[in-house]
């Protein structure tokens, strides 16, 4: 798939030199493929994530999660989230095999019963542990998951960005569309506006404090999701990110979730 994307990118670039008029869809797809290309090859990564949930009254609650990811050739990533907080969920783990258009596969480990349960991934738009992030917001990004349409260039703060409209191609998304500001220099999102199925503005996600790892992969230290319809927000703070730590398939098998 990656070679195919590369190939299509080359073809698109050739086309772009031959013809001057590219469609908005072609430009949008080019940007997505460039984003994908620039991040390929991270192999595996670990990180600590803190989620700060704030409700409309300003009450806060906290989640801390250990995240592990494995990059798959020709498929979506495998991701493992191990909860540290809230303490009643300690060691509860969620394992996800992401796919571009097919349904994801997901297992949850319930430490009280030592039980691993396969769960449905139909619920894309449901909230993840009571946060403003839904399951689809946290599932791994793949080029094929969306169709793209370039809108225009715009300065977001001091960053020069493309604005691209993403329309989910996978089933059961909670969004009619997303409007994304892609940084022209690092090819990473700076802001995404989420529109619900009625096409009303639902949420805005902003990305802050990007760091570069292994001279290649850009990751934000901080992400902020604001729900415009409820006034609630969730902030994600990342720390101790490491790449190429030597994770393999065996670290992402339901049977190994039991600890």
């Amino acid at each position: 798939m990656r070679y195919l994307q590369l190939f299509s990118l080359v073809i698109l670039s050739l086309l772009s030199t031959m013809t001057t008029a590219k469609t908005a869809e072609e430009i949008g797809l080019e940007i997505a493929m460039e984003t994908d290309l620039r991040d390929t090859g991270f192999t595996d990564s670990i990180a600590d994530m803190v989620m700060l949930l704030k409700n409309e009254d300003g009450d806060e609650s906290i989640r801390t999660v250990k995240m592990k990811s494995l990059e798959m050739d020709n498929d979506g990533n495998k991701d493992l989230s191990i909860f540290q907080q809230p303490r009643d969920l300690k060691n509860t783990s969620v394992l996800t095999y992401s796919h571009a258009l097919e349904a994801d596969e997901q297992w949850i480990y319930l430490p009280a019963l030592k039980r691993v349960k396969r769960i449905s991934t139909r619920n894309k738009s449901g909230p993840f542990v009571g946060s403003e992030f839904s399951f689809e917001d946290l599932s791994s990004w793949e080029v094929d998951k969306y169709s793209y349409r370039y809108i225009k260039d715009e300065l977001l703060g001091d960053r020069d960005c493309f604005i691209v409209e993403n329309t989910p191609r996978y089933e059961y998304s909670g969004y009619a569309r997303q409007v994304e500001w892609v940084d022209k220099e690092i090819y990473q999102p700076r802001r995404i506006d989420f529109y619900d199925r009625q096409n009303a503005l639902l949420k805005t996600l902003t990305f802050h404090d990007y760091q570069q790892y292994l001279n290649k992969h850009w990751r934000p230290d901080r992400m902020l999701m604001i729900n415009h319809q409820t006034g609630k927000s969730t902030e994600l703070l990342w720390s101790d990110r490491q790449f190429k730590v030597g994770l393999t398939d065996r670290d992402f098998i339901p049977g190994t979730l039991k600890r």
Binding site: Q85, D88, E105, R118, T256
Partner: protein, 407 residues
């Protein structure tokens, strides 16, 4: 502090190359809960306490120590229950105490541990490694620690292979004559258990499981050989009159199990089945059903799931007693998906032949960051002598409220 020191020295003993380890780390977690269990009706059996309100405390800390880049770990999980009135529920156990070593594609675990196999909700047929703690609850989800040598081999092509050597059989925990939720009108004399194996509790059991993921299918096949976790209860031979107590008989069994789940869209289709050979009898049992979820009902974040399972068992009257020979389980699970993780599960298992029903409610909600309140209830309806396995419990419907602090 002592435990921390013990864990550390234990760990160092296992690891002569401590200097090489890149990370090491101690993790302490667990909970302490205050329970109030209320038996709604008075007791009826001879010798049974008439105390209806039972306050108790539950303490389950977990100590985990990692080293060698988390490839080695030690885990210790003591368990304490102390009931103000019921001495059956004044109990200490080691639920886990094991060393786990991760090789490239293999996990080796030595010590006392807990293992869960299976997919269904109403009954856990294939789940056989650990003995049941029938005093904590009657849903067979509370289990005693089992000593084992366990090797799990992971292959991306062939699936997961689990091997168990299980020395040290443990008797099922059953309530004494004075306690509620007894299994029979006659008390069980646990000290006098009879074993088919001449080695009695020293018989070494063995188990194996293969599990495989094939797209939307999760498949498990298992085999167990050893002392049955379920006992047959036989009335004593009393030469001077009617029997006054039951003697547990633990047979040597061969049990083959299969568990299957098909996960498609909002559907989970589940099946567990066993074939058991023991005490000159072969019988089969099955649980099969589905769970269907309505996500985001009424434009909210709330998920409502409908569950139904059919339970069938063709064992004879001479085999260990089960209430689930021909029963239907139906349930509703409500998940609010709020920041308090509020969940409610309401279910009932109804006997198709005599309508005896076991209704259960399990609800939980986090309060503040570290506290959780849970309500559990088991209610017996229409239970008569026709339902031998539940008849002695028919007056023991209860509601349990727990406030737990997690650390």
């Amino acid at each position: 502090m002592l435990i921390r020191w013990l864990l550390l020295s234990f760990a160092l003993g296992f690891n002569p190359c401590q200097a090489e380890s890149e990370m090491s780390n101690i993790d302490v977690s667990g909970y302490i809960g205050l329970d109030l269990r209320w038996f709604v009706e008075g007791s009826e059996l001879l010798g049974q306490s008439n105390q209806s309100l039972h306050p108790s405390v539950e303490f389950k800390p977990e100590f985990q120590y990692y080293w060698n880049n988390e490839n080695d770990s030690l885990k210790l999980t003591p368990y304490l229950r102390y009931d103000a009135f019921d001495d059956n529920r004044q109990y200490f156990d080691i639920r886990e105490a094991f060393w786990l070593h991760r090789f490239k594609n293999t996990d080796l675990r030595i010590g006392v541990a807990e293992v869960f196999w299976g997919v269904t909700e109403s009954r856990h047929l294939v789940n056989i490694i650990n003995q049941v703690d029938n005093i904590e609850d009657i849903d067979e989800e509370d289990r005693l620690g089992q000593s084992m040598i366990n090797l799990n081999w992971f292959s991306s092509d062939l699936g997961t292979f689990e091997f168990y050597v299980l020395p040290g059989f443990r008797e099922r925990r059953l309530t004494n004559q004075d306690g509620r939720l007894r299994i029979d009108e006659l008390p069980v004399s646990q000290g006098e258990a009879v074993y088919e194996s001449s080695l009695k509790q020293a018989h070494i059991d063995a188990a194996f499981r293969w599990s495989y993921i094939l797209g939307e299918w999760d498949i498990g096949l298992s085999q167990f050989y050893g002392t049955s976790r379920e006992a047959r209860f036989e009335a004593e031979n009393n030469p001077f009159g009617p029997p006054k107590k039951l003697i547990p008989h633990y047979d040597i069994i061969h049990q083959t199990g299969i568990d299957l789940q098909w996960t498609h869209d909002s559907w989970l289709w589940k099946l567990e089945a066993i074939n058991r050979i023991g005490n000159d009898e072969t019988f089969q049992a099955l649980v099969a059903g589905f769970e269907y979820a309505f996500y985001g009902i009424f434009d909210s974040d709330i998920d409502l799931s409908v569950l139904s399972e059919y339970l069938w068992d063709n064992r004879s009257q001479q085999a260990p007693l089960t209430p689930f020979d021909n029963d239907v389980f139906t349930g509703l699970r409500l998940a609010l998906n709020d920041e308090k993780n509020t969940e409610i599960l309401l279910g009932s298992i109804i006997d198709v032949e005599n309508q005896a029903s076991l209704i259960s409610l399990e609800a939980g909600r986090r309060i503040m960051d570290s506290w959780k309140v849970s309500i559990d209830s088991r209610i017996f309806v229409n239970v008569t002598e026709k339902n031998r396995a539940l008849n002695a419990m028919k007056n023991d419907s209860f509601i349990n409220i727990q406030m737990a602090y997690y650390f």
